[in-house]
């Protein structure tokens, strides 16, 4: 017999509390490790909590709609024969809120640091140890877009998630805005961090940067995972989104642009909008994004990739059927041997919208 508390998880540095959206199982239901048990809304987006043990959901402590701090008991999981009284006693004896210590001793703690690369200031998040997994976000994003992936992967790998030039807290100078310039900057950063043979995961623009990185700096990249990549044959460039961000003045303009990214516009939370709004209001940010947009609309960088796809290391392609930002890649035009996974339930942000599915695919690569 065993009794375990299900506590409010901490997804990302900024998360302080979460709202219970829906329990996906009822009291008394049996669960296996990895089963989805409830939906939690964070300040960023709604995500699903998976069971970390097999057992039975003995008690729901926090019900739908309740807002609980990180580390608070939200439910109780039991294994074997446990009485109601024993669950009550367990709850009485357990601290209501317990936050896992994230001190220097714990190398899975997420650390943010600033490094100078080719004269540019880069903000980079790191967690965990082992094989390097590099996560490159998309246009107008930042390392925080990977919060669910970082949480999932940091126990098994050294996760490195930079803010690309022009984004987040990194330098706003993007030079000519070419994929090569962005890839060279990431390469110099990885070299400085003594990374080689990494699994490089890119989303959207970040996926195009990842491909360029693999072609121009092959020793750094062991394999690629491309999530809704920009720049593949058959793809599109959605200027409504790109220019929507570049020209946004008010937060409501940003919201309209971000809603293009997801399948259900309601998943774009106020905090997600505020985060992007704050980032693009930094001096020089929208100008930098304008340079990147123009480069993508020009298309020459993407065309150069099309001719070199055969030279890439092993590729896992994670594409979304409802992606209006980069469209659907023409799989027939891709090299044989790419592992292609189609997602049905997300828009352009599956690593946030259907994180569990994407995380499982990424975990399998390590």
């Amino acid at each position: 017999m065993a009794i375990k508390a299900i506590r409010m998880p901490k997804w990302g540095l900024a998360m302080e509390e979460g709202t219970i959206i829906d329990w996906l199982i009822a009291e008394g239901d049996a669960v296996a490790e990895g089963d989805e048990i409830l939906e939690i809304e964070t300040t960023k987006i709604t995500n699903v909590l998976e069971a970390t043990n097999a057992g039975q959901l003995a008690r729901i402590v926090a019900r739908t709609g309740e807002v609980m701090p990180v580390g608070a008991i939200i439910g109780v999981l039991t294994e074997g024969e446990v009485s109601e009284g024993e669950v009550d006693a367990f709850l009485a004896d357990s601290p209501a809120v317990e936050v896992a210590a994230e001190d220097d001793e714990d190398d899975t703690a997420l650390a943010l640091q600033t490094v100078t690369v080719n004269g540019r200031r880069m903000n980079v998040a790191q967690a965990g140890s082992g094989r390097a997994v590099v996560l490159l976000h998309g246009f107008s994003g930042d390392h925080g877009n990977w919060l669910f992936a970082i949480e999932d992967l940091k126990g098994a790998a050294r996760v490195i998630a930079p803010d690309l030039p022009g984004h987040g807290a990194s330098e706003k100078d993007v030079g000519d805005g070419s994929l090569a310039t962005l890839a060279d900057t990431v390469a110099a950063m990885l070299t400085g961090m003594e990374v080689s043979d990494a699994i490089v995961v890119g989303h959207s623009l970040g996926a195009a940067v990842a491909m360029r990185l693999a072609l121009d700096h092959p020793a750094l990249v062991g394999q690629l995972a491309l999530v809704c990549p920009a720049g593949l044959p058959g793809g599109v460039v959605n200027d409504d989104f790109l220019s929507g961000i570049v020209r946004a003045e008010k937060a409501r303009d940003v919201k309209k642009a971000l809603q293009l990214l997801v399948r259900d516009p309601a998943t774009v939370s106020r905090d997600m909008v505020d985060g992007v709004t704050r980032a693009i209001r930094l001096d020089g940010a929208q100008a930098a994004l304008g340079v990147l947009r123009d480069r993508m609309l020009d298309g020459a960088d993407f065309a150069a990739l099309h001719g070199a796809l055969d030279a890439l290391p092993p590729v896992t392609l994670i594409a979304s059927r409802n992606d209006t930002i980069v469209g659907a890649p023409d799989v027939a035009a891709l090299p044989d041997g790419w592992a292609v996974h189609w997602l049905d339930d997300a828009g352009h942000l599956p690593h946030l919208e259907t994180a569990a599915e994407v995380n499982a695919l990424l975990r399998a690569l390590i």
């Binding site: 807290a169 937060a251 106020r270 209001r281 930094l282």
Partner: protein, 333 residues
């Protein structure tokens, strides 16, 4: 991201804009703080220490300690603005604005209009207001309603460190006169503020919390109190939207009207006497443009129509409190 105080956020905005643009100058009583003496480096930087460190860094030509004459400070700053500088003039307390009101409302605020759009007046008047500091009736007022009603002035009331920095940078880069009303009660408030410079546009409200049961609109130092009230209401399952308009002129009417459309209930919190207050202004806006959405009369939480009392117990009673805001919301339900 660094957590810094509201005071430091204002200081950082001034510092970064002075570095970026040599036409940005400061003037006011003690803004240099001890300039001319041997203590330049350790100069206090104003009565609240907001301009600390700027005199040693930028010198007497750009950080100008003035005589105690508000009409001279604002008159000189308005003149400097129309001739190409970007002055940030400080009035130690907004209570003293009476002696330089002509320079503000009848001069600076009129230049663009009267010179056919050819005059630019990139003037910022920084000042502080608000009660709760036991400073008496002549040093505790909030006079934003008087300033908000003047066409040609922009009026800013930051409620947190992030907004203070971004709104002040916006104010300095703006080509029209801006009155930037800091809150004495908030100077020690800390929050995450990017080190880089950034602008927050005027006329864009900040939504601090979303909830479907009622809307609270609060200004300046009343915003944290509105959030306390929202926390207390949440314990009973009452979810409120809290809106900080950030600027009283221009006012983000769309944000307020959209929210009332959803909630049907409104409480406005304004630290000023009730007559001709922002509370009355927002209540009138909603009554005239969203009457059909209202499910209850608009609640107004303001100060009484009296000077700010000096007796501490009376001063506390004078202020809108979280308890009063909570009660006003419950009354609309």
């Amino acid at each position: 991201m660094a957590r810094i105080s509201y005071r430091k956020a204002v200081n950082q905005a001034l510092d970064q804009e002075m570095t970026r643009d040599a036409s940005v100058i400061l003037m006011g009583i003690d803004v240099g703080g001890g300039s001319g003496g041997s203590g330049d480096v350790g100069s206090v930087g104003g009565v609240m220490g907001v301009t600390k460190g700027l005199y040693p860094k930028y010198g007497p030509n750009r950080v100008i300690d003035t005589p105690i004459s508000e009409s001279a400070i604002i008159g000189a700053a308005a003149g400097a603005a129309v001739t190409g500088m970007r002055p940030v003039a400080e009035l130690m307390f907004v209570d003293f604005i009476g002696v330089c009101l002509d320079q503000i409302y009848n001069q600076a605020a009129k230049f663009r209009y009267m010179f056919g759009g050819k005059a630019r007046t990139p003037l910022v008047i920084r000042t502080m207001g608000g009660a709760g500091m036991r400073a008496g009736a002549q040093h505790s007022q909030n006079l934003h309603p008087i300033l908000t009603m003047i066409p040609g002035l922009k009026v800013v009331m930051p409620s947190n460190p992030y907004d203070a920095k971004g709104l002040l940078i916006r104010a300095i880069r703006d080509d029209d006169p801006v009155v930037f009303l800091e809150s004495k009660a908030l100077y020690d408030m800390k929050g995450e503020v990017p080190e880089e410079a950034y602008e927050i546009p005027f006329g864009e409200a900040n939504f601090l919390r979303d909830g479907g049961d009622a809307t609270i609109v609060a200004f300046g130092a009343m915003v944290p109190r509105a959030m306390q009230a929202a926390d207390r209401l949440a314990k009973d399952g009452i979810r409120v939207t809290v809106i900080d308009p950030r600027t009283t002129s221009p006012l983000d009417e769309e944000a307020i009207l959209d929210s009332v459309d959803e909630t049907g209930r409104l409480v406005v919190v304004d630290e000023s006497p009730p007559r001709c207050s922002l509370a009355a202004d927002v209540a009138a806006l909603v009554a005239s443009q969203a009457f059909d959405a209202l499910k209850a009369p608009v609640g107004m939480v303001t100060c009484p129509h009296t000077p700010v009392p000096f007796a501490p117990n009376l001063e506390d009673a004078y202020m809108p409190s979280a308890e009063k805001i909570e009660a006003a919301v419950r009354k609309t339900l």
